[in-house]
């Protein structure tokens, strides 16, 4: 399979994503308490937990979008100094899709930093953005206004913009929420490619039924870390019952 971006080198043990004692409070109400977690070097990690568990907040805190105490580092350096290693794919509902932009315009935004100040995107980046749209099955819709796409297509545009970062670590917030089957299959296929390329995918995920089948690692969250590790060890009915407060069947 074609590499999505120039091949990434797998992270050495010294270049891991690590979170130490991270806490977030919204107006005095704790949203995350004392999160300490070292991510796997690569592979697909699902963040699961009940509503209000702080899953999205954890991504935002790691990326510096919400104020937090504690540290989030990559290779021992603050994430803010390692932005080139990160790509964020926010929730689809977080933006106004009425914005005057085409699918290609949005994907190009992922390259705005590498293109640099006072410069256009250039032919080569436009071609790369087109290739990324092709990778997510949207080459035909490159010049369509983003508001005139389905939810699944919008989610794939967001994914392509994240891929345009050529980053080693991708943070995705509910990328499979409310998407059609075709989009889900394409997104999961891209995940597998990223996995094979040695990248790390950290994905807030709501569908417990697909965790075991699709992800290698899991972080079970409910304001605090309930469990973290391989799916075999940390995605057990007992752990999920503790996280969700009710007995749950982990696998259908």
């Amino acid at each position: 399979m074609l590499a999505i971006t120039p091949p990434a080198t797998a992270a050495g043990l010294d270049d891991r994503l690590a979170v130490e004692g991270l806490s977030v409070a919204y107006r005095g109400v704790p949203a995350l308490e004392d999160i300490t977690w070292t991510a796997p070097a690569s592979g697909l990690t699902a963040i699961v937990g009940p509503n209000g568990a702080g899953k999205s907040t954890l991504l935002k805190a790691i990326l510096g979008l919400v104020a937090s105490t504690g540290r989030a580092t990559i290779g021992g350096r603050p994430v803010a100094e390692r932005r080139e290693a990160t790509a964020y794919v926010p929730q689809r509902a977080s933006v106004d899709w009425d914005f005057p932009a085409t699918a290609l315009d949005v994907v190009l935004q992922g390259m705005v930093r590498e293109a640099g100040w006072l410069r256009g995107y250039g032919r080569a980046r436009r071609d790369r953005a087109m290739a990324l749209l092709d990778r997510v099955g949207l080459a035909d819709l490159a010049s369509r206004q983003i508001g005139q796409m389905s939810g699944g297509q919008q989610q794939r545009v967001f994914l392509a913009r994240g891929l345009a970062r050529s980053a080693r670590i991708l943070f995705l917030d509910e990328p499979l929420a409310g998407v059609d089957a075709a989009s889900e299959s394409i997104i999961l296929d891209v995940f597998d490619t990223l996995d094979r390329e040695g990248r790390l995918v950290v994905c807030v995920h709501h569908d417990l039924g697909t965790v075991a089948e699709r992800f290698s690692d899991v972080l079970v969250l409910n304001r605090k870390i309930i469990a973290a590790g391989s799916v075999a060890n940390a995605f057990t009915p007992e752990i999920l019952a503790r996280a969700y407060g009710v007995p749950l069947v982990a696998r259908p």
């Binding site: 107006r27 510096g64 803010a80 932005r83 933006v95 085409t102 935004q109 705005v112 930093r113 100040w117």
Partner: protein, 290 residues
């Protein structure tokens, strides 16, 4: 009567200055609109009122000629920057939204301005004509040097927007994503706000403090109906702004009893109405197609 008869070189210079300003206003206003902060420019425009009245009073106290444009425009500019700062400061307090902060500053600025103006009217100081121009606008009173200055400002604003177009678009669409890739979101927001404020202050002598904001708000709103590309919307807004300012100023020059500000706003509103119905991208008669 031929339209060009009796229009001298100075008038043409003034027209060019007005058109350039309309162009800059449309371009800067596009990003205020896309970032949903169009009302900030209105607050800034109203916020200039205490600056203008205050500068007039200060000049009178110091025995200067208060109708000197530099005094009044300086007061307006300082007040504009203070209004912007007040909005940003208030918006960062917990439980005050950006819209609430904007509306509060607008009302306070306007109220303070009216209070100061009532003081001005009790004074028997001459030169209140210069004050009236800033309040109600008149391109006819503009000097060629002022027109050149305006043209220069417009070129500067357009150049800045052109140079950071892709960054401004990225921030306007998704500020969170922009922050995660290391774009200076707050500074780019401040840049747009300052550009809009500069244009509004520069437009005061032409359109007056109530209507100056129209040049920043209406052309982008009209342009949005014609295109689904941010870059194209910027160019169209600049063109509509320019045409509105030029046609409005020309109309008020020909129909001497019509003040410039209202003439410009009416022309811009006409552009908006036509765009609303016939805009190719989103107009009511476009059938929703791209």
């Amino acid at each position: 009567m031929s339209l060009l008869a009796g229009i001298g070189f100075n008038t043409i210079v003034v027209m060019i200055g007005v058109a350039a300003l309309g162009c800059a206003a449309g371009a800067a206003g596009t990003f205020a609109m896309l970032r949903r902060k169009a009302l900030v420019s209105d607050a800034v425009a109203h916020g200039t009122l205490p600056g203008i009245a205050g500068a007039f009073l200060l000049a009178a106290l110091l025995g200067r000629a208060p109708r000197e444009a530099a005094w009044l425009m300086g007061g307006a500019a300082i007040a504009a920057v203070l209004s912007l700062a007040a909005i940003e400061w208030l918006a960062r307090r917990p439980r005050i939204g950006h819209d609430t902060a904007t509306a509060a500053v607008l009302a306070c600025g306007f109220g303070l301005g009216l209070a100061l103006l009532s003081v001005v009217q009790t004074l028997s100081v001459g030169g209140q004509a210069g004050l009236e121009q800033l309040l109600f606008g008149s391109a006819a009173g503009m000097l060629p040097e002022e027109a050149w200055l305006m043209g220069g400002l417009a070129v500067l604003v357009l150049a800045i927007i052109g140079l950071v177009l892709k960054e401004l678009s990225t921030v306007a669409f998704d500020p969170d994503f922009a922050a995660t890739i290391g774009l200076p979101v707050a500074r780019l927001d401040a840049l747009v706000a300052l550009l809009c404020a500069s244009v509004v202050v520069a437009a005061l002598p032409i359109a007056g403090f109530v209507l100056a904001v129209a040049l920043v708000v209406i052309p982008p709103a009209a342009a949005r109906f014609w295109s689904n590309r941010a870059g194209v919307v910027v160019v169209l807004a600049a063109a509509i702004g320019s045409a509105s300012a030029l046609a409005g100023a020309a109309l008020s020059a020909i129909l001497t009893e019509t003040p410039t500000g209202p003439a410009i706003v009416l022309v811009a509103a006409l552009f908006f109405a036509v765009s609303l119905f016939f805009g190719r991208a989103r107009g009511l008669l476009a059938g929703g197609a791209a």
